[in-house]
Subunit: 142 residues, 6 copies
């Protein structure tokens, strides 16, 4: 039987595990990682999103994982030098052998209390066993 | 009138420009950029794809560009330490203010003549003027 | 009158601000940042601690800051390749022109639910004005 | 009998292999890799040349290689921030156990169609066997 | 009997070894390693100090070492972009299983003969054996 | 009158300045900067040599400099992971507008007192004025 997907249906054990899987990374955007427009490289943001998503997925299942895809990603706002960027990743879907993790980046002014949503993406990971074949990502302990 | 999209309809000037926009980057996959499975980080691959796509788009239009989105990206094959990875980017669609660039990564053995397709993605860029507003990416010279 | 120091005496506005100043960064310890014992460089840990403490202090006061000192730092546990490290920084003392931030690093296994305290440090920052002279870090709004 | 050296004398198999050995890398010169004159570090250019030459040599012979020397290198033009740099490497000489690879760097404006030759160098590599001793780099298949 | 600590009491063999343990590293402070105040990150300085201290300690004892603590570090002067920074590390204390290394950073103008002391720190390392347990750092050869 | 070149003929002021121009950098060769043979990349060594030579030349003349060439460089010994590498640069020739700097890399075992010469190179720099034109590198104060 496939694992249920909606928050209502999930076992409370899985929901607790999802809560604890959240991963946060905050970075100061210094000139060394910005382009000649003085904004963060899109590719750098993608690399951060994949790494933070990977950590969140690992925290959920505690198994070796490989990235299998990223869904469409929209860069809504540029992230300027001299700001802070917070990357927040959380598991949103648990399949048999795969996990989906949503990642959001928020841009925060350094010198006033102001914060906006900048980028959202969803990454899919597959758990692999010692034989590098897909393996079950979540076992409901009875 | 929007610019035409199919290769057949494009002006020969645009086609010539697209040919010249191709950008290639080859990398040796050394242990310093691999994870504990001894394969390239997915995020590193995404960062390379965005940068190479950006260069191809710049070569096409010679205007300041920002990344606006990446389409769904599938990681078909892992890229192991001790191989070569070639990233090839080429403009595939020219809109009014935006460009789409296809990027493919091929993995090549170091020590025998063998090469496979590993990752494909499409990145969209918008040309921006001095006022940071979208501007035309391509002007057909009459 | 100097600002009060104990949690009990602090104004509730300051306490609320301190709560919101917490900064978290989680990292996967891959071979690219470990030494030949396969453990994280002490210096890399120090650099992460300073950066995370700087972000926490910035979130508290929203003013330009410079590092003025780090107190004695004990490396209680080594952080091995193939684990996760979480750096958590929080303001613990507010002076007239300076802030103290406590930073802790926890090491977490990738493949089982196990987490230990590894390193603790306290960094002191001074707020500086346009003239690069120390300036007040916190103004109690009446 | 030593392998012949002039293009005319080379076997067509070797010539075909040399053609396919070309390696290209294009980079955007962002502020993070320039010095305080806003131009690319000479040392960074040297590192790129060695890596691209190494890949070209590997593509030719598919054997483990070590750098043994670089010939005199002239830096004819500085490479400014905000330009593109293309590194192109190609095998130019095949010895018994060594290969010579020519590497050229071209600097290309981002915002107009203009390209100039900037740096040329020749790197020599030796093929090594499992015993780390020099081994034959090319075997003419009869 | 514990090893003696004052320079007068140390054996001449140990003193000679301490002299030879000095490690020096000089760096040009380019924009890629400075923050948005155009000065070196405090954390980067800490990482350099730990690495240089580690090398000095290794040169003294030629044994595997781990960082166990850093004493209070004062950042007396900021290190601006466009200057040189010299890190000098030297063993100052030899215990049974541990070593203390003093590290100083000097900031030097690029374009005039002017040099000032910027940062001082003391790092403690412990020698470890194959079993990762503390082991003697210095054996007086009779 | 051109400046004299042999050590005997140089003014004592110039000789004193050359003595003080020496620049030393020591590095621990960790896996993050080695290739899949577990030895330092040739290109990384070249980048270090250029940077250390640049600092030595700057210390001599205290003027803005650009790299104009590197002479033939021989890589006599590979530098393995788990060793120390010391780069030592010193001015060896003073021309009207240019300087030659010799750079040597020594490889030193971490765990025994053993040191060997690995790489030697000579880099030429030209002093440039505000107009980016060559300018005199040394003025004999009478």
């Amino acid at each position: 039987m496939p694992l249920s997907q909606t928050p209502e249906d999930r076992s409370s054990a899985m929901n607790a595990r999802i809560e604890k899987s959240e991963a946060r990374v905050i970075k100061a955007i210094f000139p060394s990682i910005t382009n000649h427009h003085n904004t963060l490289f899109g590719g750098e943001a993608l690399a951060w999103m994949d790494e933070t998503a990977f950590i969140s997925a690992t925290r959920f299942c505690r198994k070796p994982l490989v990235t299998v895809s990223s869904d469409r990603i929209d860069f809504k706002k540029v992230i300027p030098a001299g700001s802070l960027a917070e990357i927040i990743a959380k598991v949103i879907h648990v399949g048999n052998t795969s996990l989906k993790v949503e990642v959001n980046i928020f841009v925060e002014d350094m010198y006033r209390d102001h914060r906006e949503h900048a980028i959202r993406g969803v990454f899919t990971f597959v758990a692999v066993g010692d034989d590098r074949q897909p393996t079950q990502v979540w076992t409901q302990e009875s």
